[in-house]
Amino acid sequence: MTQGRILAAGAIVGVAIVLSWLIFSALPRRYGAAPTKAVSAAPAAAAPAPPGRKIKARLFYVAEDGMHLTGVEREVAYGEGTVAQAREIVSSQIAPVPEPLVNAVPAGTGLRSLFVTDRGDAYVDLTREVVSSHTGGTDAELLTVYTIVDALTANLPAVRAVQILVEGKEVDTLAGHVDLRRPIEKNLEWIQ
């Protein structure tokens, strides 16, 4: 009988531990119920990458048809952690590229900062050139947006959506078409 009580008590304690883990750790993580938009890391400069180390990432450039993106495997500097790596990927993505590659991100665009919420939403803050140097047009704008969105979501599983900011502020659109008021989810339909 005593042995039974011990077993019962053990079972109760075990269930309590599992419940506690579920309530305070697993479920919030599963359903993204973070109480605030906790920034998992400060702007990437806080996590400098070891010099010289590279990873391979799939970056996106304008396809031959001018309406899609095509993935190109390129070497990108290694970043410690999701945010640092995201910053390296975006920096490489928006950098000028040699022909015949064509970048859908306007030349001169820079990355101001980047952070990722616990929910997996990446906020990419670009310089004003992404607007001022943009040609306009729905396709060109879609390609610009999905270049950034897919570069992050395709290479970093921890990033599920991307919101583009310009000069630290939320914007409606880059050139009057694509809605940037909410994070945009990965969409591989734009990739050829």
Binding site: D65, G137, D172, V178, R181, R182, I184
Partner: protein
């Protein structure tokens, strides 16, 4: 099947008939028109009278002509006409009739005035003979050959073509292309002067009217043509068709100086209500010319601005759809000014538009890209979850009681119309195919800001690429814009017809 047989029979008959125009025949002649033949009878002018040879009439109508005892006897199935040289009188089956002039000899032939046909021959002939002297036409048998008169009146921004058919004949008007209308009469042939209308000036909306086989008038139009509106009205023995030809708005006018814009959405133009027909599911259409003002949109490599193209096409579309479909068309801007994206959809929503079409011109980083694209909105999973049906909100109503209302966030209004937006996009693709260049997969989905708040089926059309030099030239042209507007009009009609009358799209 019956229709096809009838059509084939009609076509064969009409091909045999041919067009009837006196002045189409070179030299003086009388056109003889019957169900199975057309032939020319040569005419001669004698003493200022148009005359025809008796031998030609004998051949055409199986007459026997005999000359004896100073008289000419014309026989047909036992009935006779007796003519006397130098006499303007003739005996027709024993009854005397008068002729404008006596028979005259020309070599070995006898010539009689053309009135001989109607006054002497017709009474003894067993088939109806209808002599149309002014148009040099002789109709044999019961053919429908209405007389057609065409008048044109130029108005400041339009023109009115009045077409009378006597005796009454219905007609169908179709737009063959961007610069031509066809008026097809329900008749075997038409009796019309040639040309039906004196040539008009190069600035006229109607340039010319000419005859086409077998009973059709072709109206050649100025490239400024934007649409037409036709009404028919019976008047005694005449059926009058009034065709109002509409010109597109002037798109070359200089930009107006900036003026304070009214805070309220622009008032909708007033149109007369439609009576006696089922209420169409499409009563108001909002057309949104993209960009405007300081927001020029895409700038073509030769300087063409997206904001100008979208406004020009929108104006053409408004003129064509309002005139021909009788629905109200709102433009979110009708001049060169910038309108906020939210205000554009607000105009459509507040005026309860049934369809929203945003017009744009595309750009690609690659200059070789060409073709039109039709885009419907798409939303992220989170957005769609947030608009899923729920209990709504219960609000008190006037007079007591409660009412459940469904609340949808303003910027997610389009989520409820996505299926029909895609449906309209697909119809539009069908209508544009083979008429304007399209990209390989013309119907696309994208999170477009200007569509998301539209509380009705909504699409954004990129009519082509200004980053391609050939497309830039094409898109700026009248031909392309009219063709595009025609396809848009056809798509609206098909979309409307796909919806039950009175339904809310």
């Amino acid at each position: 099947m019956r229709f096809r047989s009838f059509s084939l029979f009609s076509a064969a008959s009409l091909i045999a008939l041919a067009v009837v125009l006196s002045s189409q025949t070179p030299g003086p002649s009388l056109t003889l028109l019957s169900k199975d033949a057309r032939r020319q009878l040569p005419l001669a002018v004698v003493n200022d009278q148009e005359s025809v040879g008796l031998d030609d009439l004998a051949s055409a109508f199986q007459l026997a002509v005999q000359e004896s005892l100073g008289a000419i006897t014309v026989s047909y199935k036992g009935r006779t006409i007796v003519l006397t040289p130098d006499q303007s009188l003739a005996s027709v089956s024993g009854r005397l009739i008068s002729l404008p002039s006596p028979p005259t000899r020309s070599g070995r032939r006898w010539l009689v005035p053309v009135e001989f046909i109607s006054r002497a021959l017709a009474p003894i002939y067993d088939t109806r003979l209808d002599l149309r002297k002014p148009s040099h036409l002789l109709v044999v048998g019961d053919l429908r050959v209405p007389r057609i008169t065409v008048r044109y009146e130029a108005l400041p921004a339009s023109g009115r073509l009045t077409v009378d058919a006597t005796p009454r004949a219905d007609s169908a008007i179709t737009q063959d292309n961007n610069q031509r209308l066809s008026i097809k009469f329900d008749a075997d042939a038409i009796d019309v002067p040639n040309p039906p209308l004196a040539p008009q000036g190069a600035q006229s909306l109607v340039l010319s009217v000419r005859v086409e086989n077998p009973a059709t008038l072709a109206v050649e139009l100025n490239p400024r043509f934007a649409g037409f509106k036709a009404t028919s009205q019976p008047m005694d023995q005449t059926m009058r068709q009034v065709i109002d030809i509409l010109a597109q708005s002037d798109t070359t006018q200089p930009a107006a100086p900036a003026q304070p814009q009214p805070a309220q959405p622009p008032a909708a133009p007033e149109l007369p209500p439609l009576f006696g027909t089922p209420v169409s599911a499409i009563r108001t259409i909002a057309i949104d010319p993209g960009h405007g003002g300081e927001d020029e949109g895409v700038k073509g490599i030769n300087g063409t601005k997206e904001k100008d193209i979208t406004l020009a096409i929108a104006r053409r579309a408004k003129a064509a759809i309002e005139a021909r479909l009788g629905v109200r068309v709102l433009l979110t801007r009708d001049d060169d000014r910038n309108v906020a994206l939210d205000e554009r959809t607000a105009i459509a929503n507040n005026n309860k538009a049934d369809l929203y079409v945003s017009l744009h011109v595309n750009a690609s980083p690659r200059r070789s890209t060409i073709g039109a694209t039709i885009v419907a909105a798409t939303f992220g999973k989170d957005d769609l979850l947030s608009t899923a049906p729920n209990e709504g909100e219960r609000v008190p109503t006037f007079g007591g009681g409660l009412r459940d209302i469904e609340l949808v966030p303003w910027d997610l209004a389009q989520t409820r119309h996505l299926d029909r937006s895609v449906s309209f996009a697909e119809i539009l693709e069908q209508q544009l195919t083979n008429h304007v260049p399209l990209v390989q997969q013309p119907v696309q989905r994208a999170p477009l800001r200007v569509l998301e708040s539209a509380n009705m089926p909504a699409v954004l059309i990129e009519v082509g690429y200004l980053t391609n030099a050939d497309q830039e030239k094409l898109i700026a042209g009248d031909g392309f814009q009219n063709t595009f507007v025609q396809a848009l009009y056809d798509a609206v009609v098909r979309f409307r017809d796909s919806l039950p009358a009175g339904a809310t799209p």
